[in-house]
């Protein structure tokens, strides 16, 4: 429907509506590598699969659906995403790179530390969109505003490239 037949090499197929817009505006969205499909159950040569999880086929859609389902309990989403993206470190599996990612959070591991890739932009924009929706639903009430803004900032600030690998007050360093 909204996915044109634009030849975009190696893009994840689910955010098809997103990509032609980016192509038209000319931003260099994709890295040179194929941010391709995660072939489930087959051998691949990816050193740390954690870096490519967010590029796999259907994950953006699953993310939006999960948010939609959890939309009822609005506060749990930014809290949950913060834990999974910015608190938990390392990988749940052994990697052949001798533990390079042992001290890195999932956000820092994504795409091997390359900033502003497609998945990173998607994961940054979604909380902002959610924030707009929540502000609309709570009718701009003051208390809700404070809570929502604080949770939005707590999710947005760790995603800045200046904060890559930064551990404030040594929390969560090792």
């Amino acid at each position: 429907m909204c996915c044109h037949g634009l030849p975009v090499g190696g893009s994840p197929s689910s955010p098809g509506c997103f990509v032609p817009l980016i192509q038209k505006t000319g931003g260099l969205l994709l890295t040179a590598e194929r941010g391709g499909r995660m072939n489930v159950g087959t051998a691949h040569s990816e050193v740390n699969p954690n870096t490519r999880v967010m590029n796999s086929r259907g994950i953006w859609l699953s993310y939006v659906l999960a948010i939609g389902l959890l939309h009822v309990v609005l506060l749990s989403i930014p809290f949950g995403m913060y834990i999974f993206l910015h608190t938990v470190k390392g990988t749940p599996f052994e990697t052949p790179d001798q533990g390079k990612a042992r001290l890195l959070t999932h956000w820092e591991q994504m795409d091997y530390g390359v900033q502003f890739t497609a998945s990173r932009k998607f994961l940054t924009i979604t909380p902002i969109v959610l924030y707009f929706l929540t502000s609309f639903y709570t009718k701009y009430d003051q208390i809700h505003f404070i809570l929502n803004t604080v949770s939005l900032m707590s999710v947005l600030i760790p995603k800045l490239p200046q904060l890559h690998g930064v551990r404030i007050f040594g929390i969560n360093k090792y």
Partner: protein, 467 residues
């Protein structure tokens, strides 16, 4: 979003600060959509001109560097026939004092028969790693037998001796972990440490005070940063009998240090397996230490067992990890079954005649004593070590000159039918390059008179060459 159409009939205004914030966020989204991807470190601040200059200046090194004509790798001796007790070098039959055939099992008829039977049954190679149809019953048998022989829970086989310890170390020690290793560690251990990407701390050879100093320093660091210490693993890597010096490691003190400073010991027993101890179980039996105190024992089967490959043994919990993380185990073809059968037969012989270890020890002591007092050469190594070194008492000052002198001694001994060799190293790659030396190997098959003859030959030749 200025006027929100109400559903209840009331008009709800969006407050001004909220609108400003939303405006900022929308601008942020637009900026995000336009931003380029970049890698964090790759900010090269060189201008195009500077890059051109650097490219102009660069001179490529020759693909094949010039090498002197008398380089040892270009002038090698050719052996025809098996390198057993009598070895035929360049057409001349000599007594073998160079091959690590400690128990004389290389030419043993029982071992050869077992290998032949296995060859007829399985063919030559396995054509696959252990995970892809490369596991045969002889492999499982050999692992079982080795575990029982060493009195550990489990053993794992590698198909290449060098790769054994070089795969075992990086399977456990990763980035951020600390390894305390002896300076005289062999090249295989050095490569394993390099592959592990851990922090390496070298201590002086067999100097327990130096090791304790390093461990204490690490303890102080740990107390300053307990959270980091909780995720850091500490290892001590030593060899039973050192290949480069022929000395033995002080294992009882090491075990004490291990429990005091909470580190794990990896013991490399390539030269001491099948040599030390009452039944040939290695340096733990020699000192009477409980084998459970050592976390991992690694040895290659290319010396006393006269096979190819290596093994690691220890607790099941430790060894099982290497079945998926040992790079040499998962990604190399497995040991040819005829060599595994030969190793099993060699183990059988070792278990049936435990007397050979005492015989070997006696012969080592004999030649060690006989070689004392040569003017110009000093004996380096324990008296019970079957592989020891003869170094120049006074170096001439240049390593090349030393190597040439020792090569002269070796050549003249060869003329008198004693086959010796110099210890060779990759000089640019070794961390702590040992001084040049002649390596003498004692085997069970050498008779007493041969030992006496060898000692006197070396004495005569050394007197001629060095004086």
């Amino acid at each position: 979003m200025l006027r929100v159409p109400s559903r209840i009939g009331k008009r709800t205004h969006a407050p001004a600060y909220h609108l400003i914030l939303e405006g900022i966020l929308i601008l942020w989204i637009i900026r995000l959509l336009f931003s380029k991807t970049y890698k964090l470190q790759e900010r090269s601040d060189l201008t195009v001109k500077e890059k051109e200059e650097l490219i102009e200046e660069w001179q490529p090194e020759p693909l094949v560097p010039p090498v002197p004509k008398d380089h040892p790798a270009l002038n090698y001796n050719i052996v025809s026939g098996p390198p057993s007790h009598k070895i035929v070098v360049n057409g001349k039959e000599c007594i073998n004092f160079a091959s690590f055939n400690f128990l004389g099992l290389l030419d043993n008829p029982r071992v050869k028969a077992a290998a032949l039977a296995s060859l007829k049954k399985y063919g030559v190679g396995t054509c696959g790693p252990r995970g892809f149809y490369g596991t045969f019953d002889v492999h499982l048998d050999l692992e079982d037998r080795l575990a029982k022989f060493m009195k550990t829970e489990e053993a794992i086989i590698y198909s290449y001796g060098f790769a054994t310890i070089a795969s075992a170390i990086p399977a456990y020690s990763k980035r951020g972990d600390i390894v305390f290793v002896d300076r005289a560690a062999c090249f295989a251990i050095q490569k394993g440490l390099q592959a592990s990407r851990s922090d390496i701390k070298l201590f002086k050879h067999n100097d327990m005070a130096d090791l304790e100093r390093l461990l204490k320093e690490q303890e102080i660091e740990d107390q300053k940063n307990p959270r980091k210490a909780r995720v850091t693993r500490r290892f001590i890597v030593v060899e039973g009998l050192y290949m480069n010096t022929g000395t033995i490691c002080p294992l009882p003190e090491l075990v004490k240090l291990k429990y005091k400073y909470k580190a794990r010991i990896f013991l490399e027993e390539s030269l001491s397996f099948g040599v030390l101890g009452e039944h040939g179980r290695g340096v733990t039996e020699h000192y009477g230490i409980n084998i459970d105190d050592i976390d991992l024992i690694s040895a290659n089967m290319e010396n006393a067992l006269a096979s190819i490959g290596g093994f690691c043994c220890g607790r099941s919990f430790v060894i099982d990890h290497q079945r998926l993380s040992g790079q040499g185990y998962c990604f190399s073809a497995s040991l040819p079954p005829l060599l595994a059968a030969a190793a099993i037969e060699a183990l059988n012989i070792m278990e049936e005649n435990p007397g050979i270890f005492a015989v070997l020890k006696e012969k080592c002591r004999q030649i060690h004593k006989a070689l004392q007092g040569i003017s110009g050469l000093k004996v380096v190594g324990e008296s019970f070590s079957p592989a020891f070194h003869l170094q120049l008492e006074e170096s001439t000052g240049s390593r090349e000159q030393d190597v040439r002198l020792l090569q002269e001694i070796v050549d003249q001994c060869m003329n008198k039918n004693i086959a010796l060799t110099q210890a060779r190293y990759l000089e640019k790659e070794e961390k702590c390059l040992p001084p040049p030396s002649i390596r003498v190997v004692v085997t069970v098959e050498q008779t007493e008179e041969e030992l006496v003859r060898a000692a006197s030959t070396i004495k005569e030749v050394a007197q001629v060459v060095l004086l």
